[in-house]
Amino acid sequence: MKKSIKKILLLVVLLLVVAVSLAASPYGEREIRVDGSIAAAVEQASPGDILIIPEGVYRESGITLKTNRITLRGEPGAVIDGEGNGHILIIKADSVHIEGLTVRNTGLSHVRDYSAIRLEGAAHFRVNNNRLENNMFGIYVSRSAQGEVTGNRIAGGGARESNSGNGVHIFDSQKVKVSENHISLHRDGIYLEFATSVEITQNVAIDNMRYGLHYMFSRDSVYSGNEFRRNNAGVAVMYSRDVVMNDNIFADNLGPASYGILMKEISGSEVAGNRFENNTIALYSEGSSRVRIENNSFKQNGWAVKIWANSTDNVFSGNAFIDNTFDVATNSRQHYNTFAGNYWSNYDGYDLAGDGIGDVPHRPVRLYSIIVERNPVSLILHRSLFIDVLDLAERVMPALTPETLVDEKPLMKSPLP
């Protein structure tokens, strides 16, 4: 009996040792230096492997990663060059981590969306600190969840808009963090379609051919602290709800159809603390409702706010409108939004009460903006004395500008630094 107990104890100890050693390795942190083909290394990798890619140019494409828990870590100077053939890295596994790589030269196509790093049905992914150059799409996230795309520098080839893709493309995915990326020369900097709970923070999108950021059919998303500059057509948020857009900078988005933010059919969202400077149209709203627009600064834009009459129940408060050609433009005398407690640099009222709020309500819609809306050619009369006379007459006896679009409590001083 005593012997059998001893045997059993020994067996238990043995099993424990095996279990512990099994837990520690070989599935733990096996570092493998890739020698030669990355595709081959990926093929042979087991879950938990860290593939170190040394300096050098790897002329490969269509590398497909199907094993879970793999890390691809580029050492400085490690470059994967697709040489214009299709996708470069395709990830179809969970918990994959890609960092420090330079990936360049995907294929170009009018039919397929060739991408430098493509995630398909991947969960818990991390794509950090890579450089993506001259690709059709940069990082393409499809039907994936719980991942992050951070610190990447993504520059497109600056080709024509028609066969250029997006810097970061997120489709039908949930809970993705996109932050601190620098994205330029793509079609859209960041593109979201049917995405939920996506957080976009601290990115810089500059010189993109279409939008810096493009939201479609998405909800519960946040973008804050980003900078959108010189994109051909600013930022577009369409058919989405519960979007939080805070503390971003929209600047120098100039052109015939350029916006800071274009909001189309948006509801229950928030636009706060943003800075809009020198855009053709800073904020454009069509069919949006219940959006709170607060504490933004609109400075030296062509149109600060262009709001269509089909936008309802939006609230503008605490914003500063400074030196815009048109502070507010609209297309109808009917108006169902609220403007209250904003600062208007061309407010010419006074504050006898001394409470910081002007005693006379401010009408931010100039007659001229309505004229321009009906006949855009009349833009050529901007700053003409004749127009000033018209505006003055309208202000004294409003006949054409929306009666209800009035800020009853205009601030005497800008609330923003």
Binding site: P256, N279, V372, I380, R383, F386
Partner: protein, 265 residues
């Protein structure tokens, strides 16, 4: 040779006289005060230039045409005296015109530039300021030329001054009203080209647009504005602006000179 030196001599004394007159001082003080005030209230050089744009477009044509007309009438006896000297009429005409335009242009330029200097932003804004001043000077010359044409059209001082006001009103207000009327009447037709041409024919509109292109492009880059932007912003557009301005100087001035030479004093 003789003609040129004679003209220069006349200009010299003409300048001495005009530079000592009170209205030049007023004009100079006006531009210094308004520019400095804009710096005090507005801050940055860019904003000051944008605000000055309105001042330049409003004040310079009005002052140039009114002052110019008055100046010519007031110089009548003196002109007669000098023409009884061995002075050619064209020399006297050149001296009179220079005697008006040079002080006006200098006053505007100095009056605006000085506050830029003492606010320490002259060099950082030299390009934009240069463009603004060039336009200001062009407007000064054009509306002085128009003033001379008026002064030589009628001997009647009151009539002449009335005409000057009307002409200014026409270019500053009425003409733009007409453009807007045309835009509304023919709103179903493509109007960009005709409107572009119409606005180029008014020197005040032309100057306004030239300044807009430089300083407020964000607005003009809207849907239709882009067409104007593309035209006026291009090299050929800029050349067209200069050519039309030169025409606006040389036509009234040439007509005035012809009349001055043939006139009975």
């Amino acid at each position: 040779m003789k003609m040129n030196t004679n003209t220069l001599k006349l200009i010299k004394y003409q300048l001495r006289d005009v530079m000592r007159s009170r209205w030049v001082l007023f004009y100079l003080a006006f531009f210094i005060l308004i520019t400095d005030a804009l710096f005090r209230f507005g801050g940055s050089g860019d904003r000051v230039i944008l605000s000055l744009m309105n001042v330049v477009l409003l004040v310079i044509p009005l002052v140039s045409i009114m002052l110019g007309t008055m100046y010519l009438y007031n110089s009548r006896e003196y002109t007669e005296l000098m023409l009884s000297q061995p002075v050619k009429r064209i020399q006297m005409f050149a001296a009179l015109f220079s005697g008006l335009v040079l002080p006006l242009a200098a006053t505007v330029s100095v009056g605006i530039a000085l506050p830029f200097i003492w606010n320490g932003v002259l060099l950082s804004h030299i390009g934009a300021l240069g463009y603004l001043l060039a336009t200001a000077v062009a407007l000064t010359i054009i509306f002085s030329a128009l003033a001379f044409a008026i002064g030589l059209l009628t001997e009647d001082k009151i009539k002449g001054l009335g005409l000057a006001v009307v002409l200014w009103l026409f270019f500053a207000v009425i003409y733009d009203g007409l453009i807007l009327l045309v835009i509304y009447m023919f709103s179903h037709y493509p109007l960009q080209q005709p409107v572009l041409i119409m606005s180029m024919l008014n020197p005040l509109d032309l100057a306004r647009i030239a300044l807009l292109i430089q300083f407020e492009a964000s607005t003009l880059m809207g849907f239709t504005g882009a067409v104007f932007q593309r035209f006026f912003g291009s090299m050929s557009g800029q050349i067209a602006i200069v050519l039309v301005m030169v025409a606006w100087i040389s036509i009234p001035l040439g007509w005035g000179a012809r009349r001055f030479i043939r006139k009975d004093f």
